[in-house]
């Protein structure tokens, strides 16, 4: 069995956390896999054995998803209805919808989980939503078509890509303003921050690059390209990324090149190209990091990747246009 089920210790810790919230059912560590279907207007929920548990109807065009810290709730941006739907992980129902500006795409919680930072693709702003009041408390202008949003580990900065401006905006949240613009490659999309808080990795979809930014100096320190054998650089459109908890490996989906690149984060060396589905766009790891799941936007499926052997082990049809994938374990 390649999926290592929940560890007893983790379950206990989660149960204690959840008990304080008086949740009737244990949520964290369900092992469930959530896939948002952009054109299916659903989040499909898979059991750990990859059978379909249920399909949760959402507002239109569900895209990015993030759990709250204790994994009781899953938040989903819904681009065509201008809301963030909230799914109760225990009951698997939409329990709330938080209004946003036009076309919300990617988002992050503030480190204290009191706010949501969300990019509004049609409006060229990063919106700050106050979670307690569900009101928009700030709008920070960005370049056109903002996409990726991520916090620095110390919570000082929020980084946002603008797909059109070819920039990473560095927003100082104390000032609620852009303090620096870093010009990267063409059509920058998504981020990971290394767990030590030192590096910001940015995928550039159309220039086939991944830029590594030094967070202390806010300068570019590396420009990486990953071209699987038989492809040309222009076929490689990196988008989604994930990083292991120890910061040793970065997983990069290569979009049209239909591969996942697994990269040694320290040496920047490629460890393996893994063949996945058509236009691989998002990737997430199980908490034991033995398995990665890749959402393939054009082949309407997900690919299950065994991280030990770094090989694909299964593909699974999930529904129309998988956008994001998150594992609750």
């Amino acid at each position: 069995m390649w999926i290592d089920r929940k560890l007893p210790g983790l379950v206990l810790a989660a149960a204690m956390a959840v008990a304080t919230l008086c949740q009737p059912v244990l949520a964290r560590g369900t092992g469930l896999i959530f896939v948002s279907l952009e054109r299916g207007n659903q989040v499909v929920v898979l059991n750990p054995d990859l059978s379909v548990k249920t399909r949760v109807d959402t507002s239109r065009r569900p895209r990015d998803m993030n759990f709250n810290k204790d994994h009781t709730l899953l938040y989903v941006t819904c681009g065509d209805d201008d809301v963030i739907d909230v799914i109760d992980v225990a009951t698997l129902e939409v329990v709330d919808s938080i209004p946003t500006g036009p076309s919300p795409e990617m988002f992050q919680f503030s480190p204290d989980e009191s706010k949501i930072y969300v990019s509004n693709e049609e409006d060229s702003v990063m919106e700050v939503i106050d979670l307690a009041t569900k009101t928009i408390s700030g709008r920070i202008p960005t370049g056109a078509e903002p996409e990726g949003v991520i916090n620095s580990v110390d919570g000082k900065y929020v980084f946002v890509t603008s797909e059109v401006a070819d920039m990473v905006h560095v927003i100082d949240m104390a000032k609620a303003a852009v303090v620096k613009n870093i010009v990267v490659g063409t059509r920058p999309r998504r981020f990971v921050v290394t767990p030590d808080g030192r590096e910001l990795w940015v995928s550039d979809e159309l220039s086939s690059e991944v830029h590594v930014i030094d967070i202390a100096s806010l300068e570019i320190k590396d420009d990486l390209t990953f071209v699987p054998p038989g492809f040309r650089p222009e076929d490689v459109t990196p988008v989604g990324m994930a990083i292991t908890k120890d910061g040793s490996k970065v997983l990069i989906t290569l979009g049209r090149a239909n591969h996942l690149a697994i990269v040694d984060a320290g040496t920047r060396e490629l460890l393996q190209y893994v063949l996945v589905g058509s236009r691989a766009w998002d990737v997430d790891l199980t908490s034991d990091e033995k398995t990665a799941f890749v959402a393939n936007g054009l082949s309407d499926d997900i690919t299950v990747v065994d991280m030990t052997s770094m090989t694909p082990v299964q593909s699974l049809a999930v529904g129309r246009t998988p956008h994001s994938i998150r594992v609750d374990d």
């Binding site: 056109a144 603008s162 797909e163 059109v164 920039m167 059509r187 159309l206 049209r256």
Partner: protein, 381 residues
């Protein structure tokens, strides 16, 4: 006073941070005139593509502001008689980049009139091959050439295994040019053109075989009908009227162009909906051609220190140019003919059916070069 103003404008244009873009069009461009067709047939809505240039400037404003670059737009729509004088005035006023949304013959005249002047011309919407083979050293072409669009159709026919084609050609010289390019594209992919027949709009009973679609499409077998009718007056009556039940492509039915509002991948929706919000009409291919022309100029000017029209052109033609047109791949310009490499959309009225290069068409350097005149085939006049 006027001399002083001119001096100030020129002095302003000399700063490296300024990008002064002009947009030149005809007030009554026959290609966009609403009542051009017989009895006020529905032709494309009046297209004012200068809005698209403005949109590109706004799209990139965050970046240009951050770089301290001031981008201006000087849009002029003039009568044909004033065209060349206006072009001269726009250069004198400090515009270093002119986007031309003009019929092909006018584009050539402007290029000749402005030869040797410090200005880069971007031909946005004239597809004529003669403008490419003229090899104007002050010009690039952002909108697709006729050959690019015809190659896209030919690839689709080959992929669908629709291999024999009946070609119908109108009276306009542009129609013959389009049919010639289709023939060249068909030859390259070994499609068979079973016949090439001229149609006429006259209802003269002596020439029924030229105006009656059923007669015009009879007496021969074919998989598909290709119609070259840039005016669109005749072509609209061809679908569902052919003697054999066959699909119609070319100027009607399945058409090939740079853009379609129904494209929805790769950020295309965002471009189309931004345009819709700005102008309250659906984006046309000509709008995209102008939008990407302005975006090309600004993108290149940002990358070239002390940008001049000549160095910006040189940069556009190099591999260093990486342009995002929301078509899923990076775009740049071919060194040999100044033509932008780009995917071509095959669309019906309300759906994007396919995007060329169709999967499986390979090329030794760039799959985008399977569309349009390739380097070994190309020669300047």
């Amino acid at each position: 006073m006027r001399a002083l103003l001119l001096f100030l404008l020129l002095a302003g244009a000399a700063q490296a941070e300024d990008v002064a873009i002009g947009h030149l069009s005809l007030a009554e461009d026959p290609r966009y005139t609403q009542d051009w067709g017989y009895a006020r047939l529905i032709t494309p809505p009046p297209v004012i593509t200068a809005d698209a240039a403005g949109m590109a400037i706004t799209d990139l404003k965050f970046t240009t502001d951050a770089m301290g670059m001031n981008v201006t737009l000087d849009a002029r729509s003039v009568a044909g008689a004033d065209l060349l004088a206006t072009a001269q005035k726009m250069v004198a006023a400090g515009n270093r980049y002119l986007i031309l949304d003009l019929p092909g013959a006018d584009v050539a005249q402007v290029a000749q009139a402005l030869a040797g002047q410090p200005v880069l011309l971007v031909n946005a919407t004239a597809p004529e091959m003669a403008l490419r083979t003229a090899c104007f050293d002050n010009m690039v072409h952002s909108g697709p050439s006729a050959r690019q669009t015809m190659d896209a159709l030919a690839q689709y026919l080959r992929a669908m295994d629709w291999l024999s084609v009946l070609v119908l050609v109108g009276e306009d010289p542009l129609d013959a040019g389009l049919a010639d390019e289709f023939q060249a594209a068909a030859d390259r992919l070994r499609l068979s053109v079973v016949d090439r027949r001229a149609f006429t709009l006259a209802a003269d009973p002596e020439h029924r075989e030229g105006s009656n679609v059923k007669l015009l499409t009879g007496g021969v077998d074919y998989d598909v009908v290709f119609v070259a009718d840039t005016r669109g007056e005749f072509g609209r009556y061809v679908p569902y009227a052919t003697q054999l039940p066959r699909p119609v492509i070319g100027s009607v039915g399945l058409t090939a162009g740079s853009w379609h509002w129904a494209l929805e991948r790769d950020g295309a929706t965002q471009v189309s909906s931004r345009f819709d919000r700005l102008t309250h009409r659906k984006i046309q291919p000509a709008d995209w051609d102008v939008w990407i022309a302005a975006k090309s100029i600004i993108t290149a000017a940002m990358k070239v220190p002390g940008a001049t029209p000549a160095t910006v052109r040189q940069f556009m033609l190099s591999d260093a140019m990486k342009l995002d047109g929301s078509k899923g791949v990076t775009l740049n310009y071919r060194a040999w003919d100044g033509q932008m490499r780009q995917p071509i959309v095959l669309a019906t009225d309300d759906a994007a059916i396919a995007v060329a290069p169709i999967e499986g068409y390979m090329h030794q350097t760039s799959t985008l070069d399977t569309l349009g005149t390739d380097e070994p085939e190309f020669a300047c006049d």
